[in-house]
Symmetry: C2
Subunit: 164 residues, 2 copies
Amino acid sequence: MYKKIILGIDPGFQISGYSILRIENQKSFVIDFGYLKMKSTDHLSKRVGQFYFFFNEKIKEFKVTNLALETPFLGKNIQTFLKLGYLRGSLYLLSDKYKLKIHEFSPREVKIAVTGFGGASKDQVALMVLSMFPKLQKLPKIEKNDVTDALAIGICGAWKCRIG
Amino acid sequence: MYKKIILGIDPGFQISGYSILRIENQKSFVIDFGYLKMKSTDHLSKRVGQFYFFFNEKIKEFKVTNLALETPFLGKNIQTFLKLGYLRGSLYLLSDKYKLKIHEFSPREVKIAVTGFGGASKDQVALMVLSMFPKLQKLPKIEKNDVTDALAIGICGAWKCRIG
């Protein structure tokens, strides 16, 4: 039997959205989703530690086998970009610890997987994900965006694993 | 008695130089230095794991209390800059695990600490460090540069800790 557990993550120093999907016999099921919120007043090293610990527990709990991430792009802030690397580094460390396979997708690939269209707007992606998971509507707006992003990344990962 | 153990690191995916200094009664002693060499053919997550494990052992062995790093700058290659963040993230994680204090220095601060002059060239810094630690001459050229950089960073850390 072909079975995979995919963890999709949209990392951030304030809010990190995540989704966990199970693939079984060519079908995908979302088994968990949510977010980790960290205090911007906490020292960076403490937050990197919290992030690592949080996903270490998720990986153990759900017996994750694959990790799905979006390729980062350099925005206006170089420091933010570098620090995002700290969180990604923690995920690479976890992938080494638990022998997870890492899949990285461009924003375009994620959009195609969710909406079928690479030029879809961020709002269109969110709408599509929300229509699939109505429970998400209950989340506060800021957290909701991070969770829908993480679900889109997870869905993209599941899609690639099914056809791969 | 005032005692600190400083680990200075110049991280890299091929060669990471390091230095370990002990400060006791306002005096600094270099107690270890060297480098970690990783295979460029190994997967990134494996190398992040090796890097974390290597410095985890050094921190335990020498009972390190402080970490000294150089502020990274964005060079020509954005991917290299991002990946450097993966290694720095591992060090932030270790600093959280062992409650180490992190000190970050600009290249200018490191140069001043070693040569007394912020406009010193890379070669001048290396020459100064080599004159302090003649044993370094035995190292192969590439590794030597990474180790002298790590020693300069460690010396800067010791200098700041002594006066701090």
